[in-house]
Amino acid sequence: MSSKKLSDEQNEFQEYARNWLSKNMPPPPPVRLPISPIEVSAVEQLGYLQEWQLSCYRAGLIGCDYPTEYGGAGRTDCQRLANQELGRAGAPYFINIVGLSMAAPTILAHGTEEQKRKFIPGALSGEEIWCQGFSEPGAGSDMANQQTFAEKRGDEWIVNGHKVWTSLGHFAKWMILIARTSRHHKYDGLSYFLCPIEGHKGVTVRPLIKMTGESGFNEVLFEDAAIPDSNRLDEEGKGWTVAMTTLTHERGAAEGAGGGGGGGSTHPLEQLIDLARKSRRDGVCAADDPMTRDAIVQQAIVSEGLRQGNRRARVPALTDHPMRIPMQQKLVSSELVQNIARIGVDIAGAQSTLYKLDEKAPNGGHWPLAYMNSFGHTIAAGSNEIQRNILGERVLGLAKSK
């Protein structure tokens, strides 16, 4: 189905974005960038990426569709065009992924006028890095089982608890935090806060080491940390509903649908094909091996299917349920990333046993690390098993699994 015709504004904006990007692409990074923003750990990487995000924000390629009073460009349906152009230009990703794709849209939907004016501009520009405090050691995919407790004292909330898997927590100024404010209700006992993190009293951020040996995410401990009541998002007890807004954006964020996200600098399929051309398996070029060829093309089809699914999702008449395709995106895109990396490991064969610091490791040891890191995508934001439950229950109408 051909997509809807672009409006004059969109046409003009698309041309502007393309033009701007052709003149303003950043120099190569000072150190190699990881696969995605959530693995960024060095300050050199952070600085480079923040500068790029700020420059795109000033050029109006971020927050295109946000109202101008909240730091946006006040356009209509232009962000996806900006994202397309960023992707086409092979631009680096935006570092503030939680701020852009989760915090900003949630604040826009649920925030007070003051909160919107205060928080959205810094999230869009990337000057204020955000992290997400949803996961807990005892509440992984069962998100309603939150134990972190916020107690009201005067016009402050005193928070005690333990959050984990906090990507970018080590750089974050703010956290979108879900905490229990009543022990008597499960879902209705949760509230949602915009919590100061960096240098805040009672907040400790500790890096967690991933199976790859790298850091990249954290645990965050709260010991009598105070949050002013003015930083509560929406009503007390409405945290679950607000969190659903965040998750809707998070799960759709893989394709930059949440208002930013930008284009990746890497095209994993092309890298994979390049690896196959350069590798030998059992004495022949891996790119000539029929099984390898079939495996690669299968992923190319999934990748194109994802792209066409995004286009199709914009035409309501082409599906029987409005969330049928959007809710599949996290599941499909995370498994695509995983499968591509796994095929890379298989092609590299014995060489994929080599760690990134071994000079003989192909692509700087990228493939096995990418494969291991990919579990961050298939587990995070509700494991893919949970995604399948949600799809089965909400879209197909099957009985709820408990």
């Binding site: 189905m1 299917g305 599906t319 399948r388 699994s401």
Partner: protein, 372 residues
């Protein structure tokens, strides 16, 4: 939308009970005695009156000139109802006639718009979908051609009025229209699993084709140009079948109780149904894209269509497998409707190249040819 009209029309005229009465009354008749399954010729007359045979025929040739995107939506409904008819075969033949771009082709397109049906007879005995692998040879005799050999795996040959046949003439392929009752033409009925269609091996012995029935002197180019549309049509039929299998199995998982729970409560049931939905949606998204690529004449039409056929075939194999398994014991019986769609899907998966075949072709573009 054309799709909605097609759905309500087929819902009314071909409910599942009616389909079952037509095609699945007695397995012994069909499989042991090799008797043809029934089809509703009255319904076919109505379909012709609705103008569906002329959908792919341009207005200049007397048809409707509908977009392939629109046709794909209609054919999805055809698949969803497992309609026994020569419609899919006729649409595919019309695409090959269209890409022939000759005045002889125009004449035949006009007849199809008026209700004639046709089927492609282009595969050899090995079932190759390499268009150059042709089991029929042609020689010139005056301004006529004389055909010898055989064309196999001809879809709904017994329902279609005429065959559009490829034949080797020296170094080239020609395309010609042959009437089934022409002298020297013999149709042998294949005994097939799919109860909703027929298939034939066609023998040609000294078959004379007059000049006005020689459609193209560059048949290979015409077939190649038509191939993306042909793959789209069969993929659309698959997508419709897939969706019927998914919805029917989901309904069963909602109604059937085991161990005090609806079947769908169990993740071992829920997750594969979601996996099926994901693969079905992938195929449909790729299908609509491929149809649009053909409509706008994009260079990527062939690869888009191969992606759609690969995805639709694989989704078909998966949901077919699960639809029987998740229905449990009943799903394995003749009494249950799922086998009708299982067999139509299995047939479509192989037709014009399965997933592996399409990916082998795609790999050449994506990765490059195999060196050795």
């Amino acid at each position: 939308m054309l799709r909605d009209l097609a759905r309500s029309f087929l819902d009314e005229h071909l409910p599942i009970d009616r389909l079952r009465t037509l095609v699945a009354s007695d397995p012994e008749e069909v499989y042991e005695r090799g008797e043809p399954t029934q089809w509703d010729e009255g319904l076919w007359k109505q379909i012709v009156e609705l103008g569906w045979t002329g959908l792919a025929v341009s207005e200049a040739d007397g048809g409707v000139g509908f977009s392939l995107a629109g046709i794909a939506g209609l054919v999805e409904e055809v698949g969803r109802h497992a309609l026994p008819s020569p419609l899919v075969a006729t649409l595919n033949a019309s695409f090959a006639l269209r890409t022939s771009e000759t005045k002889e082709a125009s004449v035949w397109l006009g007849r199809i718009a008026d209700g004639a049906s046709a089927s492609l007879a282009i595969s050899d005995a090995s079932g190759s979908w390499e268009l150059a692998d042709c089991g029929v040879s042609a020689r010139e005799q005056g301004d006529q051609l004389v055909l010898d050999g055989s064309a196999c795996f001809v879809q709904d040959a017994f329902k279609a009025d005429v065959l559009l046949t490829s034949a080797r003439l020296g170094e080239r392929l020609v395309l010609c229209v042959v009437s089934k009752d022409a002298s020297g033409v013999t149709l042998e009925r294949d005994q097939i699993h799919d109860l909703t269609r027929d298939q034939a091996s066609v023998q040609f012995q000294d078959v004379r084709v007059s000049a006005q029935d020689v459609i193209s002197r560059d048949g290979l180019a015409a077939l190649r140009a038509a191939w993306p549309a042909i793959l789209v049509v069969v993929s659309a039929d698959l997508c419709g079948t897939n969706e019927w299998q998914l919805q029917t199995t989901v309904e069963y998982a909602k109604n059937r109780k085991q161990f005090d729970h609806q079947l769908g409560f169990f993740q071992a049931v829920k997750h594969p149904l979601v996996n099926a939905m994901v693969s079905i949606d992938r195929a449909r998204s790729l299908l609509y894209n491929a149809a649009c690529c053909v409509d706008i004449g994009a260079d990527s039409a062939e690869s888009a269509a191969r992606m759609a056929k690969s995805a639709a075939s694989d989704a078909g194999a998966f949901i077919s497998d699960r639809s029987v398994q998740l229905h449990g014991g009943i799903g394995f019986t003749w009494e249950c409707d799922v086998h009708l769609f299982f067999k139509r899907s299995m047939h479509n998966q192989a037709l014009y190249g399965d997933g592996v075949h399409q990916r082998r072709k795609l790999a050449v573009d994506l990765i490059g040819p195999i060196a050795s």
